[in-house]
């Protein structure tokens, strides 16, 4: 049955939210421009009503779309494309923003929330600020409008409420227009992670928050209140910096846990596109604080605040227009919105630029020379360095854009992004980070004490010495030899030491002011954490088997991956690594179940335990229990030992999902205080193709007799008559027997149960039994009642194997602790600034 109502309602809400946003823009614009007080009140009231209505409609869209996903209405493209019946509940939320439409909606939702908050808290700024807000909302609402303008062949926006039959031209719809698929396509497995439930909302809240300072800045320029806008904009800038930073870090953490590229940051265009605006946001934050204290660098602040918002729009354009094409592995596909996105970007770029140029002369500027010993000077240099740091990332990230522009003017360009992105960006960013750390460490002294040349030496001497001592200790203990890393450690230690000094000094006077110092200590720890975890990341699975692929390649290649056969330990990099077998994950219990401990059923989502299942000393299931599992996930138990001690047991995952493009590996991480052990599966046995079995070897054995199969000791324990096969009762004339053969594996005992069936006293059937982990197949070939012997057919194959890559990431916890401190610092500073009002 088609549920037309909910989709129509949703689409109606979309159109209504677009119209109300447009009307609100107009009302607030009139309110801003009228001098008549009663008329002003009239338009304000209209605008306010309009925006609140708009917010209600936005909420309505969200609820309608979520209903479609949650109720599995697969007649809708959005539910079909992003969800499926077996998707766990918490990931239904992630479906919401897997598609572009949903993520626009999320963005719009946050801006609506922020708009409502501003309406009730910023009465003096309401009219101009909300004009900008409503205008931005109008643009975003147009992205999901899904309306075709009659006459012109122009489609505006892509609606999330489109029906599957309208979205896809599959022949089935011409035969059966009311066809509804039984199940959806499912959520991209990489997004089935708790970080993906909270990372996008955080990031989009960060996006939305950049609009607040921008709107205040525009309002200030428009209303010629050039300086007054800074006070209300500052706490929002702090909040934006914290939330956007947190969103980026969550993304990095997700990548570390879920993607198997072996790290948290890959300098992919998608990451760069949010990293650059965040850097500029941090720069603007510092200049705004400086302005509040000493009335300098207003023009610079204005340009920075505007740039942040424009860069957010630019990053949206980059990641969603499809322009990155060959440059990024994971950008959104083109929804045909590139034109609209470009209009959105260019409109605000030109409008903001025009307003700044128009008012430039009137913006107050100081002519007096700033002293090298003033805090303003150091903040200014620091902010400039941050801008250059962002610029260095922006220029190469935009290469696909240059190619496109050249193509439009008729030239051909074959420029490609740098071949080794990580190496390329790190080389530059590292030095920028060193510079920023040194500047901010020094800047802190100037910030809290007005010092001249003479006093400076005295002030800086102690921290300098302490820095050098701590630095020397770290260099020696951690054996840092590369000069670049030495510089980075020095800068990191310096920023920590100098800010600890400030913290002690300021904290004693007024603890509420110590947010800045704490945040800066966090930055220092982040730098050191990044340096050690990335710079000293060590491949543990370095291959030393001496197996060469072919002579022509020589030995120059480092083999970072390791082939592990089941139950065959290998020594590498101080660890003994062993693959212990494939595991399944029960749906309702924590832990893992061995594939050999369960028998499959006709329902792929259910398996039956063939013995009591014990995981880490705890009994999970009794024999014969039915266990619900995720059939698409296979986990590989990998044990790392140092001597007799188990260093880590890891369960990296492979998810098999044909409709999402195949097989997706996810790592598993064993967390330690001084280092993380990180493992992912690079390749595994192909489960689809039938394995190649060796020739059948026949043995004649008696009950209790031992024999060898694929080098394992086996014994025929008993042969018994059975009355049903896999739940099917046998007919009266049928005879079936089952042999029980015990095989001793390295760690486990396995039971093989081949069967021998005689139907209607003449037709003979043999059901072989496979022990996958051991690579063994046993068939009961014949029964010799005269000698009490049985003929068994034995086949062996290559044992189960897996190829893994394992890495050690030292001191990664320093990075996460630093991140936490950064957030604490931000929160403290924010509380203080919000309370100032």
């Amino acid at each position: 049955m088609f549920h037309y109502f909910i989709g129509n309602l949703g689409h109606l809400f979309v159109i209504a939210s677009f119209v109300t946003a447009l009307v609100t823009t107009f009302c607030y614009w009139r309110a801003t421009n009228t001098r008549d007080l009663s008329l002003h009140q009239y338009w304000i009231l209209n605008g306010r009503t309009g925006f609140i209505l708009h917010s209600v409609f936005v909420l309505g869209i969200v609820i309608a779309l979520f209903t479609i996903i949650y109720e599995h209405y697969f007649e809708y493209h959005y539910a079909y494309a992003h969800s499926s019946l077996h998707l766990p509940g918490q990931y239904m939320i992630s479906c919401f923003w897997e598609g572009q439409e949903g993520s626009f909606l999320l963005w719009m939702f946050w801006q609506a929330v922020l708009g409502v908050v501003l309406i009730f808290t910023q009465r003096t700024w309401e009219a101009p600020v909300m004009t900008i807000f409503a205008l931005v909302q109008t643009f975003i609402a147009s992205m999901i409008l899904g309306v075709v303008i009659p006459g012109l062949v122009l489609k505006i926006g892509s609606s999330p409420f489109i029906l599957l039959r309208d979205a896809m031209s599959d022949p089935i719809f011409s035969i059966q227009p009311n066809f509804i698929p039984k199940d959806g396509n499912g959520l991209n497995p990489l997004l089935q992670n708790y970080w993906m439930v909270i990372h996008p909302p955080t990031l989009f809240l960060g996006f939305a928050l950049t609009l607040v300072p921008f709107a205040f800045c525009m309002a200030g320029l428009w209303q010629k209140k050039y300086t007054e806008w800074i006070k209300p904009a500052l706490p929002w800038t702090l909040l934006g910096g914290a939330v956007l930073g947190l969103g980026i870090l969550m993304g990095g953490y997700w990548a570390y846990e879920t993607l198997s590229f072996g790290g948290y940051w890959n300098w992919d265009p998608v990451e760069n596109a949010v990293y650059v605006p965040w850097l500029i946001l941090i720069a603007s934050l510092h200049t705004l604080i400086t302005y509040k204290n000493s009335k300098t660098a207003l023009r610079f602040s204005i340009i920075l605040v505007i740039s942040v918002f424009i860069l957010i729009l630019y990053s949206t354009f980059l990641t969603r227009s499809g322009i990155l094409g060959d440059a990024s592995v994971h950008s959104f596909t083109d929804l045909g919105l590139s034109g609209q996105l470009l209009v959105y970007l260019l409109f605000f770029t030109f409008a903001a630029a025009a307003l700044v140029i128009l008012r430039w002369k009137e913006i107050p500027a100081t002519d007096k020379e700033i002293s090298t010993y003033s805090r303003e000077f150091w903040i200014f240099i620091g902010a400039t360095t941050l801008c250059l740091m962002g610029f260095q990332v922006l220029v190469p990230t935009s290469i696909p854009v240059y190619n496109k522009i050249l193509e439009i003017v008729g030239l051909h360009s074959n420029m490609a992004p740098p071949a080794n992105q990580i190496e390329f960006y790190s080389r530059f960013q590292l030095w920028f980070a060193v510079a920023v750390a040194l500047l901010s460490g020094t800047g802190q002294f100037f910030w809290w004490t007005r010092i001249g040349k003479e006093k400076l030496k005295h002030e800086l001497l102690a921290p300098f010495l302490l820095t050098l001592i701590v630095w020397a200790v770290i260099i020696v203990v951690a054996r840092v030899t590369s000069p670049v890393y030495m510089a980075m450690v020095l800068a990191g230690v310096y920023i920590i030491v100098s800010n600890v000094k400030v913290l002690v000094m300021v904290g004693r006077a007024n603890p509420k002011l110590s947010g800045g110092a704490i945040a800066h200590i966090g930055v220092g720890m982040v730098l050191i954490g990044i340096l050690f975890s990335s710079g000293y990341s060590r491949v543990v699975s370095l291959n030393n088997t001496g197996l060469l692929y072919n002579g022509e390649m020589g030995t120059e290649f480092n083999r970072d991956n390791l082939l592990l056969f089941i139950n065959e330990p290998r020594n590498m990099a101080g660890y003994e690594i062993e693959f212990l077998g494939e595991r399944l994950e029960p749906r309702h219990k924590t832990g893992f179940v061995k594939r050999t401990e369960v028998d499959v059923t006709d329902d792929q989502y259910k398996v039956v335990a063939n013995r009591d299942i014990i995981f880490r000393g705890k009994k999970l299931y009794d024999a014969k229990d039915t266990i619900e599992i995720y059939p698409e996930n296979t986990f590989y138990e990998i044990q790392l030992r140092q001597g007799e001690k188990v260093a880590a047991t890891l369960f990296p995952r492979i998810q098999y999902n044909p409709s999402m493009g195949g097989i997706l590996p996810s790592p598993d991480i064993s967390r330690g205080i001084t280092r993380d052990l990180y493992t992912h599966v690079s390749s595994s046995m192909n489960r689809e193709s039938e394995p190649t079995w060796g020739d059948t070897e026949e043995v004649r054995v008696k009950i209790g007799q031992q024999f060898f199969v694929n080098d394992y000791v086996a014994v025929l324990e008993k042969v018994e008559r059975i009355h049903e096969i896999r739940g099917l009762a046998l007919e009266n004339n049928d005879v079936a027997v089952q042999a029980n053969i015990r095989i001793e594996g390295e760690h486990d005992t396995y039971l093989a149960k081949p069967m021998f069936v005689i139907k209607d006293q003449k037709e003979v059937g043999r059901i072989a039994y496979e022990v996958g982990e051991l690579g063994v197949k046993i068939t009961l070939l014949n029964i010799h009642p005269d000698t009490n012997e049985f003929t068994l057919g034995l086949n062996g194959r290559q044992k189960d194997w897996v190829i893994i890559k394992a890495m050690e990431k030292p001191y990664i916890n320093v990075l996460w602790i630093g991140t936490g401190l950064l957030m604490v610092g931000f929160t403290m500073a924010m509380r203080r600034r919000f309370k100032e009002d």
């Binding site: 066809f179 396509n185 071949a419 195949g662």
Partner: protein, 136 residues
């Protein structure tokens, strides 16, 4: 000259340096013939080649060779001029390799062999399914 002017000059200089270095480090999209010529004149830069996997009439990928230990593999790629080239990749075969429609290899020639340092797979089906895989 004011201090801000000195800073401005330094910033401009740094910006120019960044642009120049980007231009210098940027890779290029080329064909195999161009890549071979670059290697022949001693240019060791990594370049991008976009191509398709070689397939037979039935659409099966041919000349795909896994190493005996499965730790590396080689394949034949057809660039946009339909030139065939054997490409070696010193990593296990990515699981979805055979499903990809377009392959971007980043690397350089060593002798007659193209050695890829990195492979980008373009699977259009990954995020937007083309056909309904409906179970009726």
């Amino acid at each position: 000259m004011k201090k801000t002017h000195i800073v401005a000059i330094l910033v401009i200089a740094a910006a120019i340096a960044i642009i120049v270095s980007t231009a210098g480090d940027a890779s290029t999209y080329v064909t195999f013939d161009q890549a071979f010529q670059m290697a022949a004149v001693g240019n060791k830069n990594s370049i991008h080649v976009v191509g398709d996997l070689k397939k037979d009439a039935q659409g099966q990928i041919v000349n795909l060779e896994n190493s005996p230990d499965n730790l590396s593999f080689s394949f034949v790629l057809l660039d946009e001029n339909k030139k065939e080239q054997k490409v070696y990749y010193n990593e296990p075969m990515p699981p979805d390799f055979t499903r990809s429609e377009k392959v971007v290899v980043i690397g350089s020639y060593r002798g007659d062999l193209f050695v890829a340092d990195k492979i980008l797979l373009k699977c259009p089906s990954k995020y937007q399914e083309q056909k309904l895989n409906a179970k009726v």
